[in-house]
């Protein structure tokens, strides 16, 4: 979606100020932010949504809301939306109403003893290509398509309809655009595509020979 999260190359956000923002959590908000992080990770273990459905729930917001909520505020807003959409909790329960016993039961609940193994296992997204070969090879010149779906995509606006070249073939990976709709089977070849800075930013590129890469599934690309 052309959402508020897609800000690569945008102007107006000011300095990075790394020294003032060096911690994992915002200064003064460590308590609730750490808890929000952990609740999100633990609830995700239930398997009621894919990582891409989670990302879409975060970015599918008005720009005002996205920028006002703050980082972990967005996480919480997405988590509560997903829990309610899947029927695990009701809006009334989230608003402090009585706890009901007729909601969808969780697939599983992460016990403390399973945290270490679960984090060490992670969630690999590489899939068996079942004989499908990658269409592109390193060095091939490609153009990104001008895709502007209403749903989730990982093709950033700044990289649309631009000519670059294949730097690496990264594997056959779950396809985010379809996984965000709940399709856990969809997978495509994934490539790292490299662009010259001058191609992306035109005459105002800091240094036209600098490069930017992004990771593109095959349906994002066409041969030049």
């Amino acid at each position: 979606m052309n959402g508020p999260h897609d800000i690569g190359g945008a102007h107006g956000f000011g300095p990075v100020a790394p020294a003032a923002h060096d911690g994992h959590y915002h200064a003064g908000a460590e308590g609730w932010e750490a808890r929000a992080m952990a609740i999100t990770v633990a609830a995700g273990f239930g398997g009621h949504w894919t990582i891409d459905e989670g990302r879409f729930a975060r970015e599918d917001r008005t720009p005002l809301e996205y920028h006002q909520l703050g980082y972990f505020g967005i996480w919480l807003a997405a988590l509560t939306r997903l829990l309610a959409e899947r029927g695990l909790v009701t809006e009334d329960e989230l608003a402090g109403g009585p706890v009901r016993n007729d909601t969808v039961p969780p697939n599983r609940c992460l016990p403390a003893a399973e945290v270490g193994p679960m984090l060490a296992r992670g969630g690999p997204v590489d899939r068996d290509p079942q004989g499908r070969e990658p269409v592109y090879r390193p060095g091939d010149v490609v153009r990104t398509k001008n895709l502007q779906p209403r749903g989730h995509t990982r093709l950033p606006a700044y990289a649309r309809d631009k000519v670059g070249r294949i730097a690496h073939v990264q594997g056959f990976h779950a396809f985010a655009d379809e996984s965000a709709k709940g399709d856990r089977a969809a997978a495509e070849w994934l490539y790292t595509v490299v662009f010259d800075a001058g191609t992306l930013w035109g005459a105002v590129a800091e240094n036209p020979a600098d490069e930017v890469t992004f990771d593109a599934w095959e349906p994002y690309l066409e041969r030049v």
Partner: protein, 204 residues
Amino acid sequence: MPHDHPHDHSELDDMTARVMALETLLTRKGIVESAALDEIIETYETRVGPRNGAAVVARAWTDPEFRDWLERDATAAIGSMGFTGRQGEHMMAVFNTPERHNMVVCTLCSCYPWSVLGMPPVWYKSMPYRARAVREPRAVLAEFGVTLPEETAVRVWDSTAEMRYLVIPMRPDGTEGMSVDALAGLVTRDSMIGTGLALAPEAA
């Protein structure tokens, strides 16, 4: 941006109360367990962090066979050191040279190699870094106190899929004969994101 002003007490209390209420609800419904939340927080505070990545870098500096493996199959090479899992399932190591400086961002959200660097710092997740790293990496680097020679090209890696990138900074001069552990002490978190350089031995 919200992180640019101090949270006032009422806002903080409100968020604290909301998250406590959510945890209570989800616990009562059997969706999460509080002890598991403690364990997740503890893991990223004490066990999984940039020391993991620093050990990988120091070994790459001193062990040519490991360096080759890291270049061919970073997921396996890093996994062999016990660093696996969440947000590190598919790793690629990118090597800084006098000709090319690598730097990592996620413009669309905050993708970051948790298995080797732990949780990302606030600035990495911030709108200014996400917006500017791809467009003006040298100006961003200057805010980190890093100035590269003009002849060093910058390559910015935007983590838009599930590949996670670990920058292998250049080994500083004057470190011949140092132990692997001592070398790891020169490897900062920022040097593995590409917003810093490895420390000189006298600065460590």
